[in-house]
Amino acid sequence: MNSKIILVNIFRWFLLLFIQILLLRNLSFYSLATPFVYILFLLLLPFKIPNLLLYLIAFATGLTLDAFYDTLGVHTAACVALAFVRISFITVTVNKDNFDEPEPTLGNMGFKWFSIYAILCTFAHHLVVFFLETFRLTEFSYTLLRCLLSAIFTLFLIILIEFIFYNRKAR
């Protein structure tokens, strides 16, 4: 069971980063919205993962993407911020003691919980990405607009992917 979770996550990591780097890197909507769907990997890591390991994985994922995007540090910081929001949200909303769901997927947790979870994490990630990338406050409103539209684009794709691979747990 345990090794199966690890294998699935490794496969997911490669698949999502491949899609991000080969396909979505060239995609943008009127130079305003660019999707970063690879964060779905960090969203779907199992509940029981230790905090330190989660941060290390987030750091490594961000660094890998930075190497391919030539934006050293931007996605690294953003993924770490996402990890923090993820931990905070899960601590507040989920009681870990009497709980046996392995992963926070749409099928396991229901649409309402998952959508709030995805919205918070995506916005945290995108805010850091766009403001660190621009790195100046003179373009504040325009950067915020790009951030907002990109987050909506990313969320749309994430929820679409989750519905495609939707499998409701038999209760």
Partner: protein, 279 residues
């Protein structure tokens, strides 16, 4: 001491966040500065090879366009050659200006990675220090237009700070009235076909459709085509105006570029460093 440990352990998520986030910010800042020590980018062996292999497949898709642009450039060069050879050299005094003629040498390179969707776009090419490329050299495209400056170089790869980058500035001039300005990208929108000329004095009358060329004051040779004026009425409220231009260069289909080696660059730098420091 034990209480402190318990406290840290209880809020470990927050402390880990502080540590890792600081590292991330540090990497970003160090990457923005001119002296970069860490090279986790596409001049890296692994990333570069991945993009190279990908590009082998991709370059076949644009073969037609590349052929057309090369043929057009050939025709243009042939016309220039014809104009030169029609000068009756027997009547003219021969002036051997070998220094100026060979000030710039061109080296062709293939684009293996490009992006146009970000705020700061970086292009990777398949030439490196082995071909004599150094950081700071100017790059133009095979058709027409400026591309950017060389940023990081490894043995066989180099990254270009594209014109579509917040730090790239090129000194340009307008053909009709020789007004000087600074070419930048992304102040108003992030359309890869548009750029802006800043710091043009207000008293110039700017004509629509006027051609913009490089002035030769930055690292580009003078007279390289950049674009065409498309909007003149952007006022900034002070003594300078901003002009919107359409770029000749299509960054989305960039395939081959020329890296320009300036033989006098070192000499000029050494000379200008003797001036009292202005920055």
């Amino acid at each position: 001491m034990r209480n402190l440990w318990i406290f840290i352990n209880r809020y470990n998520a927050f402390f880990f966040f502080i540590i890792f986030f600081t590292i991330g910010i540090y990497l970003t800042v160090s990457n923005n500065s001119y002296q970069r020590s860490v090279t986790v980018n596409s001049t890296n062996e692994v990333v570069g090879t991945a993009y190279k292999n990908l590009n082998v497949l991709k370059k076949y898709l644009n073969l037609g366009d590349v052929n057309d642009s090369l043929a057009a450039e050939n025709a243009k060069l042939k016309t220039e050659l014809l104009a030169l050879s029609s000068i009756d050299s027997s009547k003219n005094v021969v002036v051997k200006d070998t220094l100026n003629k060979t000030q710039y040498t061109y080296l062709s390179a293939r684009v293996i990675k490009n992006s146009i969707t970000l705020r700061n776009n970086i292009i990777t090419i398949n030439r490196g220090t082995a071909d004599g490329i150094a950081s700071g050299m100017a790059v133009i495209s095979a058709g027409k237009g400026v591309v950017g400056y060389i940023r990081d170089v490894s043995d066989h790869l180099a990254t270009i700070e594209s014109l579509l980058h917040k730090d790239t500035k090129v000194s340009v001039t307008l053909k009709k009235n020789n007004a000087l300005g600074t070419l930048v990208w992304g102040t108003k929108n992030f359309d890869y076909r548009k750029a802006y000329i800043k710091d043009v004095p207000n008293h110039f009358k700017i004509a629509l459709k006027d051609t913009v060329v490089t002035s030769g004051f930055s690292r580009f040779p003078p007279g390289i085509l950049v674009g065409r004026v498309s909007n003149t009425g952007i006022s900034t409220g002070d003594n300078f105006m901003t002009i919107e231009i359409d770029l000749f260069n299509d960054f989305s289909t960039l395939q081959y570029v020329y890296v320009i080696k300036d033989k006098l660059a070192e000499e000029q730098k050494a000379l200008e460093s003797k001036l009292p420091n202005e920055q």
